[in-house]
């Protein structure tokens, strides 16, 4: 039961923050609750609680493999949140602080859900939590982004509910009880009605794929990432997308147990490649560095799907990649937030020569660029290399070729934008702004920590981490 505190403490923190009277001290809830969450997480990792076979929620190997990095991301982002909210004193932070804490609780709940219905409830709640974050600036652009986000995500998530019901009906039709816990569904896998399993897979793939931002369900992502505060962007790219990915992995294991694993893998592979290629082309044309991060995130989600479709080794690499992506995206988003404030814009037309104005943020932004484009020795290089090697090993030559082609295009697109933002002659108005929002350790340190962590994962992976990823792979593919 200890693991339930991972959900309850942030939710309680959210309630307290909503009731807290002082605008000035409220942001401190963010690092305090996040730090408690991280400490609790470390304790649970050292002393893993027992997971009952049919329990609805548990700190199982899959949750263990992903949740720690998200806890870390939240902690780092919440440190960034204090100076961020101080700069934007004119905006009320009650809702902002509360929903970030609530989303931490819901992300933990979603990762630990072993019941499809519960997973859906947490994901839907999470979707709604991010609505006020996206229109935090209250600009018309932000409201437009919010509306698109709300409509597309709500529809997607509704389809995943339908898919969950279909899986329940597959169980009923196969003579089961319609129990929606993953363990019960896997136990009954051989008798699940195949047509219903396939319908469920398609609907769930579309539904949670929308949440991940896979092409062609990605329409909301550039708008939402472009308009949300960078901190919310970092959490969306790192936290929310991993919830959807984990949901797909859990359902995939049921589908595979029901004998349709090949179909599930093929569809994941196809959507993954499509996402990578399309995102890479969009990266060549966009001129807004926050929208650029959204396309890069779509590309990374594609990589995760491709990894997950390539057997046990690919899956292990996907977990490794997820950690790297989570931290690299966090780092680059937070530094992009600094640059956006300094330049007063995020288009390449207005933001130029920022290296002269904000040298540290620019350096971090460039380091983030090298991290997400998988330059060695950052961790992403090794995870992507592992996926490509595995594709060659399994004989998917064309997959490896397309994968490399998309990576190359994405590299061109990303470097084009980043260098045009960092170098060049600054616009005069950015100078005035930068003195107002000068670089402070508190806005730089979070990015630095995350970049350092990605670099560390590239240089060496600690054995306990290797072990928890292997355990998660073992849980998903039991007869290894």
């Amino acid at each position: 039961m200890r693991e339930l505190f991972l959900v309850l403490i942030p939710l309680a923190g959210a309630c307290f923050a909503a009731l807290w009277p002082s605008e000035r001290t409220r942001p401190w809830f963010l690092p305090i609750i996040s730090a408690i969450h991280t400490l609790l997480m470390s304790w649970l990792l050292i002393n893993p609680p027992e997971v009952l076979f049919h329990s609805w929620m548990g700190f199982d190997p899959l949750a263990r493999a992903i949740l720690p990095v998200i806890s870390l991301l939240f902690l780092v982002c919440s440190i960034y949140g204090i100076p961020y909210l101080k700069i934007h004193k004119e905006r009320k932070n009650r809702v902002f602080v509360s929903v970030i804490l609530a989303s931490l609780g819901l992300i933990s709940a979603a990762h630990m859900s072993r019941h499809l219905g519960l997973l859906w409830i947490a994901t839907e709640g999470l979707t709604l939590c991010f609505v006020p974050l996206i229109h935090f600036s209250s600009k018309p652009r932000a409201i437009e982004a919010t509306w698109k986000y709300l409509l597309v995500s709500a529809t997607g998530i509704a389809l995943s509910l339908l898919g969950s019901f279909c899986l329940g009906y597959a169980s009923l039709h196969g003579g089961g009880q319609g129990d929606l816990t993953f363990t019960a569904l896997i136990a009954q896998a051989s008798s699940l009605s195949r047509p219903w399993v396939l319908i469920a897979w398609v609907l769930i793939l579309v539904g949670y794929g929308t949440k991940m931002g896979l092409v062609p369900m990605h329409a909301w992502k550039p708008d939402a990432y472009g308009e949300a505060p960078s901190m919310a962007g970092a959490l969306l790219a790192g936290g929310v997308s991993s919830v959807a990915f984990l949901a797909l992995l859990r359902v995939r294991s049921v589908v595979a147990a029901a004998g349709a694993g090949v179909i599930a893998d093929r569809t994941l592979l196809f959507l993954g490649l499509l996402s990578m290629l399309l995102a890479a082309f969009f990266l060549l044309s966009t001129n807004n560095f926050k929208r650029m991060l959204a396309y890069s995130s779509i590309e990374q989600m594609g990589i995760l799907c491709i990894g997950a479709s390539l057997g046990a080794v690919g899956l292990w690499a996907a977990f490794f990649h997820l950690w790297n992506n989570c931290m690299a995206k966090g780092a680059i988003f937070l530094s992009a937030g600094n640059l956006q404030r300094g330049a007063g814009s995020c288009t390449t037309a207005d933001a130029k020569g920022l290296f002269l104005i904000m040298p540290h943020s620019s350096l971090l932004f460039m380091a983030g660029l090298f991290a997400i484009t998988a330059c060695p020795p950052f961790g992403l290089f090794f995870s992507e290399l592992m996926i490509i090697k595995n594709a060659f090993f399994l004989g998917y030559l064309w997959v490896a070729v397309l994968f490399l082609f998309a990576l190359m295009l994405a590299f061109f697109g990303l470097t084009r934008i980043v260098f045009s933002v960092v170098y060049g002659r600054p616009k005069t108005n950015s100078k005035q702004l930068s003195t107002k929002y000068c670089e402070k350790p508190a806005t730089l340190l979070p990015s630095l920590i995350l970049i350092g962590a990605v670099l560390f994962l590239g240089l060496c992976i600690p054995n306990p981490l290797r072990q928890i990823w292997s355990d998660a792979v073992q849980q998903l593919i039991p007869n290894l």
């Binding site: 219905g117 839907e124 409201i143 929606l180 472009g226």
Partner: protein, 213 residues
């Protein structure tokens, strides 16, 4: 029992076509509310034995879908002082044709799918798919934000109808959570509607066109 159930679901399918054909926002809200009430009562027919929890659940669903959410939408549309038309992006005749085609396809498909013996001859699966298709058509085919929310509600009605296939097996806690999420979702949408209205002075989503590549 099955025949009465089919009559109710048939009514709901009929309301789909009315929703697609209506040009007035208020009428659309009324149709969606009526559909919500009709479908909200279906659990009582599926589980006829008196069960206080089922009754309470039905009551809350009917109250929410039939009264609270529609009055929220009506309030939003009045506060926004929007003109009374739904301003279709897909015209009424094409929407109706597409809706009918979708309905026929849904029913045909539902006869092909493997169903449990007690669901043979029932319109549950076909009706739910037809309603979901209608919801999609309204979502993409109408430009007023309120009409899009109505589309989402119709979509959600369809999913609710499908969920009734599992009424015996899904725990109430999960059902309640799903209902709560949907209600919160609609309220959040209401708040965003208010923001759109204040910022753009209109609820026509065609004006939301700043963000593009």
């Amino acid at each position: 029992m099955n025949s009465f159930l089919n009559v109710l679901i048939g009514l709901a399918i009929g309301l789909n076509l009315v929703a697609l054909g209506t040009g007035r926002l208020q009428a659309l809200i009324r149709v969606v509310a009526l559909q919500g009430v009709i479908l909200g009562c279906v659990p009582l027919l599926i589980k006829p034995d008196f069960n206080i929890i089922i009754w309470a659940f039905t009551l809350i669903t009917v109250l929410m879908k039939g009264f609270v959410i529609p009055s929220l939408l009506r309030w939003a549309s009045r506060a926004a002082n929007v003109d009374r038309d739904v301003t279709p992006m897909i015209g009424f005749v094409p929407s109706l044709l597409l809706g009918s085609a979708g309905m026929i396809a849904a029913l045909m498909l539902s006869f092909q799918l493997p169903l449990l013996p007690e669901h043979h001859g029932s319109l549950l699966v076909g009706g739910s798919m037809a309603t979901i298709i209608t919801g999609f058509l309204l979502l993409v085919g109408r430009s007023k934000a309120i009409a899009q929310i109505c589309g989402y509600l119709v979509l959600e009605n369809g999913i609710y109808l499908f969920g009734l296939l599992l009424v015996h097996s899904i725990p109430l806690l999960v059902e309640a959570g799903i209902l709560l999420d949907l209600i919160v979702g609609i309220f959040v949408a209401g708040i965003v509607l208010d923001r759109i209205q204040r910022t753009f002075d209109s609820l026509d989503t065609r004006k939301l066109n700043i963000l593009k590549e």
